[in-house]
């Protein structure tokens, strides 16, 4: 789960990480209040969870509280990459000497946390990695040992900072690791971290992503979980399904993340466009299947529904009954194409047949039928 910049900065501040003075505002009036508290020129930053905010016009400057009101009202009534802006962060404008990149993330290959350090900050890490791969220094942390100070000495060299900042950098790196461990973060990123005109190091932007699997031990974060979802995603997640909204017109229900993706991908391969990712998980009961099918029958954009079940723990008869129940409750709002095989396959197929629902054995056949139906539909 991604945190908003202002949330990430609040956490960073608690750990002694230097961030610009300022705070979040949810209304233009609040923005004025913060701007006058901060004094001087301020920056007003739209708080959204999508990337590329700067290029999309989400970061503005204001030289007075009055201008801050104006800028904030404009941002608070705008959308950034399709997402409504409901908060802005108002902060002192920092005089920047150099922009640096510093993050702590998880290296999957090494199975360790790793600091990514670069003196070329301010651009997204993807671009950085593409344009200056040799300019990113990686410093690994053994999770059994944790952070230890020599890492700051290596980072200082990579960042080309003066030795006088070693104590500050040591504290900063140590704080990042503590933030990562104590908040179960997958990413703690300061980009840019800047060297200010008066020789200090300040985190001008901050990003924290928390491991979803750890939310149950962070109740204060867990209650925020799901707020970035679109409406339909939220409904699906509330039902306990793994769900992602896409932009096509063929609704997908499958079991297992890999098989669900493969179903989506096959739809594309055969010329159609998937509307969503919905994994009912392993061993879904009749009732769970019913909920999933009802949800996708009501899905506004999809014109046909493809159910692809490989029966292992999941029983095909339960799936068939769930489908029938869903149709009974909300009606046949769109064509359903079912592919099922495995455990209790014959019984499942019989149930479907009784209700005049076609079912396939081969995945490719079912996908092709769904693509065709979406063209007709």
């Amino acid at each position: 789960m991604k945190l908003y910049e202002y949330e990430a900065k609040n956490i960073a501040k608690q750990y002694g990480v230097p961030v610009p003075r300022g705070r979040v505002a949810f209304t233009p009036l609040e923005a004025r209040q913060v701007a006058s508290e901060v004094g001087g020129e301020v920056v007003v930053k739209a708080q959204v969870l999508v990337g590329g905010r700067g290029l999309a016009g989400g970061v503005k400057f204001a030289s007075s509280p009055e201008e801050a009101v104006e800028v904030a009202s404009r941002l608070l009534s705008s959308e950034i990459r399709g997402v409504k802006v409901s908060a802005v962060l108002v902060e002192e404008k920092i005089c920047i000497s150099r922009e640096l990149y510093l993050s702590l993330t998880i290296d999957r290959a090494a199975r360790k946390p790793v600091f990514l350090v670069s003196e070329m900050g301010g651009v997204e890490i993807e671009d950085l990695a593409r344009r200056y791969p040799g300019k990113i220094k990686r410093i690994y942390i053994d999770p059994e040992v944790g952070y230890t100070s020599y890492m700051a000495r290596i980072a200082l060299t990579a960042l080309n900072l003066p030795w006088s900042l070693i104590g500050d950098l040591d504290s900063l790196l140590k704080s990042m690791y503590r933030i990562m461990v104590e908040h179960d973060a997958e990413l703690v990123e300061f980009n840019p971290l800047v060297l200010t005109c008066d020789g200090r190091v300040v985190a001008v932007d901050a990003k924290i992503i928390v491991d979803d699997n750890s939310l149950q031990r962070h109740p204060e974060l867990q209650k925020l979980h799901g707020r970035e979802y679109l409406d339909f995603e939220r409904r699906a997640k509330e039902l306990g399904f793994s769900y992602v909204e896409l932009d096509g017109d063929i609704g997908v229900i499958s079991n297992g993340a890999g098989l669900t993706m493969a179903t989506m991908d096959s739809i594309l391969y055969y010329g159609g466009r998937p509307a969503n990712f919905l994994d009912i998980g392993g061993g879904a009961t009749r009732d769970r299947v019913k909920e999933a099918v009802k949800l996708m029958l009501q899905h506004p954009r999809s014109r046909v529904l493809l159910v692809n079940i490989f029966g292992g723990i999941t029983r095909c008869d339960e799936v068939a009954l769930g489908i029938v129940d869903a149709l009974g409750e909300v009606g046949g709002l769109k064509p359903i194409i079912v592919r099922m095989l495995g455990t209790n396959e014959e019984e499942g197929r019989r149930i479907l047949r009784e209700h005049n629902i076609d079912s396939y054995v081969e995945m490719d056949e079912a996908v092709k039928a769904a693509v065709e139906a979406s063209r007709r539909g």
Partner: protein
């Protein structure tokens, strides 16, 4: 033949009295897996499908003799403790079925186990299975026909789907290994491919990847540098996945510009590995390589 486990592997089930643990103990026994004991704190003296239950692995070893491998069904909160117990008790392979274990807990026990030379399969894996010999997992055993294809995958049901496609065309499987759906897993494609290289019962490998991370790219680069190889056909799920969204598995997410389909496919193909567009293409691509 096959890797990691065979018909002589002596297995303990950690969390044997739970719903999942008991259910799959039955299925594994039916498959022929040599399950000699189970653990479930406080349940010493019970039997589950004829398997004796102990409070600790130590007790189980004392009473049942040596144990090689364990399969962990305990809930996420208690799973790390179960893994430490297995590693400290001297087992050599630990299959962690449990889903939803916090990432930093996983990092710790995976690093610990690797330093001690213990193989962790998973977490969040369907397990592994050497066809006709030993099933240490939750996959439907009958899907896998005996043969000489090594199957290594980040997915569950998709793997069964592919195994079925293989079977339809007469290709059997030596061992199937589910790496697990989390961002960090005990084994990766390189580790398992290396084992398949050394296994005389494996002729070719089918690699089932998905978006997220760079395990497929790393494998491709590794494969490129090998002087002795066995043929590989790959399939990658998630071509249609948007960036920044978790596609079910915690590990299946395109993040910070890493993990998208095209990078994986390109890198594999640049290493001379054929990538199938659909699961159903895999057998014929494999056929073209082996004939």
């Amino acid at each position: 033949m096959g890797i990691l486990v065979d018909s002589s592997t002596r297995v303990i089930v950690q969390g044997i009295t739970g719903r999942e643990g008991a259910f799959h103990t039955k299925l594994m026994l039916d498959y022929g897996t040599k399950i000699v004991a189970g653990t479930s704190p406080g349940k010493r003296g019970m039997y589950v499908h004829g398997v004796p239950v102990y409070n600790t692995i130590e007790e189980a070893i004392r009473e049942q003799g040596s144990i090689d491998a364990s399969i962990v069904f305990v809930p996420a909160r208690f799973a790390p403790d179960a893994v430490y117990e297995a590693v400290d008790s001297g087992l050599k392979t630990v299959v962690v079925i449990t889903e939803g274990i916090p990432l930093h807990d996983e990092l710790k026990f995976i690093n610990y186990a690797r330093k001690k030379g213990v193989v962790i399969v998973g977490p969040n894996t369907p397990g592994l299975l050497t066809v006709g010999e030993c099933k240490l997992g939750i996959m439907p055993g009958h899907v896998f026909k005996r043969g000489s294809i090594g199957l290594v995958s980040r997915s569950g049901t998709l793997t069964y789907e592919i195994a079925r496609e293989l079977g339809k065309q007469g290709f059997g499987v030596s061992t199937v290994v589910g790496l697990g759906g989390d961002p960090v897993t005990g084994l990766d494609f390189i580790d398992v491919y290396d084992m398949f290289l050394r296994d005389q019962g494996t002729e070719a490998v089918v690699l089932v990847g998905e978006i997220g991370g760079d395990a497929e790219e790393r494998f491709a680069l590794y494969y490129r540098g090998l002087s002795v190889r066995k043929p590989v056909v790959a399939y990658i799920a998630g071509r249609t996945a948007p960036p920044g969204k978790r596609m079910g598995h915690a590990g299946a997410i395109i993040s910070m510009g890493i993990g998208d389909y095209s990078s994986k496919r390109r890198t594999l193909e640049e290493s001379g590995i054929i990538v199938a567009d659909t699961p159903s293409q895999i057998p014929s691509l494999l056929g073209s390589l082996l004939r």
